[in-house]
């Protein structure tokens, strides 16, 4: 299994509070991704990173920011959480950005915003 961990695995927070989710990899892959998974929508890309300090927006980036200060860590921040951001968040990594190359997923973080 690819070495990807996410923390925390579960979090309950209140509307308006900031939240940071962490993804850590031990594979030294260049590309890292944050997705959210919601019933009826599948996985949707929030942001991705193609190197240290290099990030770009995905399909559903509004309300989220990311940072990557080290190859192994990719942080997702909700500056002011809203109930619509209740979801399961997955981090993924890949060696290349070529669509169709395998992405390896972490175990997910279940976030509930009350």
């Amino acid at each position: 299994d690819a070495g990807i961990t996410q923390s925390p695995r579960h979090k309950v927070t209140e509307t308006g509070t900031p939240v940071t989710l962490r993804c850590h990899q031990t594979e030294n892959h260049r590309y890292m991704y944050w997705y959210r998974q919601d019933p009826g929508h599948g996985l949707r890309l929030i942001h991705y990173s193609y190197g240290v300090k290099d990030t770009d927006k995905g399909e559903v980036s509004d309300g989220y920011s990311v940072s990557r200060s080290k190859t192994e860590d990719f942080l997702l921040t909700l500056e002011s959480a809203t109930s619509s951001q209740t979801s399961v968040y997955f981090c993924a990594i890949s060696e290349s950005r070529v669509p169709g190359d395998e992405q390896f997923f972490g175990p997910g973080t279940r976030l509930t915003v009350l």
Partner: protein, 108 residues
């Protein structure tokens, strides 16, 4: 509106039965992937199909990519309880887009 529509959304069958799930789109993809996701875990890649009409087999699982590269199917022969999970398809264009999945339950 989902770029990739998967059907059925839910499927519950008995052990030993055969089944087919579908992934359809009006868009053309350069490749298509199938993932399986178990509860509390992230998706795991099963297969990637690249060529229109391509068929790949993985033990009891058969994957087919449509001739026009707009759709795909996954056929499972003699399903087992271990096949239970959420099956996701993902199409590659300039990025990857995922379908909402088919949740399969195989009862012993």
């Amino acid at each position: 509106t989902q770029l990739l529509e998967q059907s059925p959304q839910f499927l519950s069958i008995q052990e030993g039965e055969n089944l087919t799930v579908y992934c359809n789109s009006s868009s053309v993809f350069s490749s298509l992937q199938w993932y399986r996701q178990e509860p509390g875990e992230g998706p795991v890649l099963l297969v990637t199909v690249v060529t229109g009409g391509e068929v790949k087999k993985l033990k009891r699982l058969t994957f087919q990519f449509g001739d026009a590269r707009k759709d795909s199917s996954l056929h499972i022969t003699a399903a087992q309880p271990g096949d239970t999970g959420l099956y996701l398809c993902a199409g590659a264009r300039h990025d990857m887009r995922f379908g909402a999945g088919t949740r399969l339950t195989v009862k012993p």
